[in-house]
Symmetry: C2
Subunit: 453 residues, 2 copies
């Protein structure tokens, strides 16, 4: 007999995990809806022509490919086999599993561009799959939780995202966090004013590691990448910048005075702050971090990252503005901004800080227990009375010892147990046990319903 | 430039579809929870060793297989290629996509048997994938919505499922439906008493078509399958049975008096009816249909099927009791009962009967519109006041003509628009347009909030 197993890097979400995940995800969904975001879901399978080439060479390798059904070898000539796996993949697999939610969203926008009401706000919470090496906290199936607005370049959207993050974290009772913000144009501007134009990509890769490896190592890397000593000297103020967001803005306006695009980036940051002020959001947990770079090359404006201050874990959210989401599918000039919550990490944070409410664990409010067929039959008559009042309830379906029935209630966190015994049949007063407090009372059905609602 | 496409047989669920689907699914979820069912989700990918052989030869062909990542040819010798697709599949693909929710559930139960609190009630609403020929109403990615109880053979569970179906349909305002119920033991019993023991499978296949092809054709098919004329004569009362459920029970008790298992099936039906009576569910929309067979061979007791009476569509739900869900994975004697709602068909029914509530379409309650930067800035100051009261709202993010902004509100079914003009800036009385009625009023922010809550 085979012993069944789960594929490496995948997880079952059993009831207690599901209930907690739903608490987290429902809170996020409610905030998205409050800010006008609409739900979207796309299929797990996409044509490989849609996915391939969108995530770089490394990404292409991590795509899960689905074997064509039927005789998948029919398109291959015998001598093609010898060319190896890479060459024949395209002939035996035409579909792949979703790698992220951004490319399917771009595809959706292009395919439905004439029906969509722009500016289009959508959120999407679905699993994605990557054939990555599984390790702690990294899965081959994991969930992304994205919100994007496309069809507008208004900097109000940036401020709204900051507002959304704050509202979600407030609901989750997460207080110690920071939203780091920067602007890709500022990074471009810096490469201009330090006489390293066109080296933005190397610059971003290096500066992005500042947190982890420190200034010295970053400078070493830049030298290796061909940045001059002179460039590094001119860059010094970037490392030394400090103070309030306004103070940093003042320093950068000076530093970037020779770069039109750099100055525009600073002005955009300023406008986001202004918009937040106009929205009366004074405590936005926003930190202008001029060394924030973020990996994704398609960002062209604001970039965000959310970090916890009291739990050691990577960023729990991030995003940014892009000028051309859909260009790769032939629809140019579709500017937008996206943000993504890291659901798996937020789950771990809530667990570490014990912020999942106990009440969320309760599915069934009351379990009806009994001693024999006669008392069980009587118990059946009580079920619908509770359900009519929207009180979730169960009856223990088997004839079993009371201890077994109470044990079942305990293990499922059922807070109340109603005991139907021989006496209760006559008196119509039932024993109601509060499983948390260990107390019990004799009450009529009406009184019990009152107690539970 | 490539024009992006969706894989055949798959669908995007855009906002208006998502909102309706969520209405349907949330109603079902709430009822499941009320009856003590707990949520479970399993990964999209399963090891092929778990999936293969569970759905018959036809099912195996319809499994989507995932190409091993990296050099998937490395386990193949050159001469193995010539053996053809069927032979090499197992060597180049170790994982497949979930084909239903029952096998993953059985796997979950076996893998977690020592932690699960039995009887275990779980519901699971997730997509499944089948490489079937796509056609109207049949998709390659579609959703299943299953609820099962395992670890008990109590016939209370059968009655509870009938109660759940009634409550879900009541919430959805679906009245004209019938729950057909039968019992596999009765079908076995019939083959015994008509002297065709062991021919249950052929009998079920034929009788299952009665609805579609009529008695004569069913009898023809049975003759072809080797049933004798004598058997058919003995079977006549089965076709002629009519009246109330109690009347049918009486006829069958007579007819099956020679079959122990057949009589047990009738007694089980009787007990389900008794349990429903004890639960005070008198209008259960339950019809004892002795010709109901259902395809799945693993059913061993009660079988169900739900049909609409006022919309022409196949069954919108079904299920039954099984004795041995997990035997194939080495855990014997796990009896249980499952039921599944046909989400896609129920969606079509609700649409056909126009039962989706309009209010469910509303995501954003109020859109703030403006004439220029100054009035837009002022509008920004109003946003959070609404959101604090849990009123979902948006501001049009671009500077655009009023007509364009109102058109946006109309297309997104936003019921209210708040206009900020030059005068409103001074008076602090805003124009509130009711987009459905076409009326407008001048109100303060407080008055508007009062109007909307």
């Amino acid at each position: 007999m085979q012993k069944p197993t789960l594929p490496k890097g995948t997880r079952d979400f059993g009831p207690s995990k599901m209930i907690r995940r739903n608490f987290l995800i429902n809170n996020i969904k409610e905030v998205f809806a409050k800010y006008g975001y609409l739900p979207l879901e796309t299929p797990a399978m996409e044509n490989l022509s849609v996915l391939t080439g969108k995530y770089g060479d490394e990404g292409d390798k991590l795509l899960y490919k689905i074997l064509n059904s039927g005789d998948f070898l029919s398109k291959l000539t015998p001598d093609e086999f010898s060319k190896g796996a890479k060459e024949i993949t395209g002939k035996i697999a035409e579909k792949g599993l979703r790698y992220d939610l951004t490319v399917p969203f771009a595809r959706y926008v292009v395919m439905n561009q004439h029906e969509i009401n722009f500016p289009f706000r959508r959120y999407q919470i679905q699993p994605v799959w990557r054939a990555d090496r599984p390790q702690k906290g990294r899965y081959r199936e994991f969930f992304q939780c994205d919100a994007d607005v496309v069809g507008t370049d208004s900097l109000i959207c940036e401020a709204e995202i900051v507002a959304i993050i704050n509202e979600v974290f407030d609901r989750l009772k997460l207080n110690d966090f920071v939203i780091n913000i920067n602007n890709r144009k500022i990074l471009t501007g810096i490469t201009e004013v330090i006489d390293a134009p066109g080296k933005e990509s190397d610059f971003c890769v290096a500066i992005d590691k500042l947190d982890k490896i420190g200034r010295e190592k970053v400078e070493e890397e830049l030298l290796q990448k061909g940045f001059s000593q002179n460039s590094l000297q001119k860059m010094a103020p970037v490392f030394e910048i400090s103070g309030s967001n306004q103070e940093k803005i003042a320093v950068l306006k000076e530093l970037l005075s020779g770069s039109e695009i750099g100055l525009q980036g600073v002005v955009e940051i300023e406008e986001v702050l202004t918009n937040l002020n106009l929205m009366n959001i004074t405590e936005a947990n926003l930190n202008f971090d001029v060394t924030l770079a973020r990996g994704l090359s398609y960002y062209t404006g604001a970039i965000f990252e959310v970090k916890m201050l009291n739990v050691k874990i990577g960023s729990v959210g991030g995003g940014g503005r892009y000028d051309n989401l859909t260009g790769v599918f032939g629809l140019e000039g579709m500017s937008g901004i996206g943000f993504s919550f890291g659901i798996d990490r937020l789950y771990d944070v809530l667990e570490a800080l014990e912020l999942f409410p106990d009440s969320e664990h309760v599915v069934t409010q009351i379990l009806i227990v009994h001693f024999d067929k006669k008392t069980q039959d009587h118990g059946l008559g009580l079920l619908q009375a509770f359900r009519k009042e929207n009180i979730s309830c169960e009856i223990f379906p088997d004839l079993a010892k009371l201890k077994k029935q109470l044990n079942y209630a305990n293990r499922n966190n059922i807070p109340y147990v109603l005991v139907v015994g021989e006496e209760e049949l006559k008196s119509k007063e039932y024993t109601l046990k509060n499983m948390n407090k260990g107390e019990q009372k004799q009450l009529t059905l009406e009184q019990i319903i009152k107690e539970l609602t």
